[in-house]
Symmetry: C2
Subunit: 218 residues, 2 copies
């Protein structure tokens, strides 16, 4: 989850103790995010009202506004939560220039698939909402772009990347194909929930290196 | 487009000549589908009313119901239009067993990417709508499953597939990774609209064969 959880004048004033459900032990903002994740992915973003989110989280609508500014705020934070951990890992991996770049790329792929395909809700489905083009989601889009750049940079550090150094378009294309695979597998993973996500994440990371041309096909 | 365009008691009665826009020359049902494609992908499915679709298509809402049963009907046909041509090609390629399976798989990949990434609207974004789980969309889901099976069958016909014949899970996994790549690239293609879709489709088909392990990495 992004640092946005900590911010905001909307925390002014103390909400009444009006929780409608037994307490889960989670902070109210987390409760609201969990409720929003479920409703946005199961019912749809457009079809979900802030009132429904509040009810699902066990609080009144008026109380909800002490914690979040509204539906867009919840969606933005959910989207950012699908990128932030991978971005943090990518930065660490990029800085760790002493290690084999192909191995670091593999780790980023594996970890990103675990993040995108793990968790109770298919948050990746929210990537394609037309609403995500709006200004409230610019930070999410920037984070996703930075992550894509990190994939490209790690790829550029491999022996294939060094050979392609003079061919920017070719390198960008391979980076995009790797990134497309990672985001694409979340579209199909849920069709086969019996398959362990760890196995799937490793197989996808292997496939990503094959796409990149970094390892031999088998 | 599916055969659904031909069906239906809703065609009974002759609509009045009440088009509100200059005639594009397209049949009214196609006009409605084009309007729905644009509104569903730009504004969102949940946020689009049947009235907005009718207006965009230049007709009154009451007239619209002569041609389509409603919003679900339009969404179902749009979704089916993203699979039907690839499925038809897949059936032809599967029947053409005299030709190299890897080459046929490459052709299916290339053609599918052209279909998913071409066209004025990003219809692939509609795949992730939670509404698509509903019964009205069962034909679309069946078509998509059949297409996925066709990818798997073509992969099974390659030399790698024959070697993996005893490893059903392994073959299914490779098929899923190929299918995930093809559907995944539509998530990223629109970020770089300057790149010609033909080049992108061929590069993706090459990458698919690398994932499948059918060709060497470069």
């Amino acid at each position: 989850m992004s640092g946005a959880a900590e911010e905001g004048p909307r925390r002014v004033g103390r909400p009444r103790a009006d929780r409608l459900r037994p307490d889960s032990g989670r902070p109210p903002r987390e409760e609201l995010l969990a409720a929003a994740a479920e409703l946005f992915t199961v019912r749809g973003y457009g079809a979900t009202t802030t009132r429904a989110v509040a009810e699902r989280a066990g609080m009144r609508q008026a109380t909800m506004y002490h914690y979040v500014a509204g539906k867009e705020d919840l969606l933005a934070e959910l989207l950012e939560s699908t990128v932030a951990p991978s971005l943090a890992l990518a930065r660490t991996l990029l800085a760790d220039s002493g290690r084999c770049a192909a191995r670091r790329l593999w780790e980023l792929c594996r970890s990103d698939v675990l993040l995108l395909c793990g968790g109770p809700c298919n948050l990746g489905a929210l990537y394609l909402l037309p609403e995500v083009g709006g200004s409230r989601f610019a930070p999410f889009r920037r984070m996703r772009d930075e992550l894509k750049d990190a994939y490209r940079a790690l790829l550029g550090g491999t022996h294939v990347g060094r050979e392609l150094a003079g061919d920017k378009a070719g390198l960008a294309l391979r980076g995009d194909l790797v990134f497309g695979l990672i985001e694409g597998v979340m579209l199909i993973h849920r069709a086969d929930p019996a398959r362990p996500v760890e196995t799937f994440a490793e197989a996808t990371a292997d496939a990503a290196l094959r796409i990149a041309g970094v390892v031999s096909p088998r």
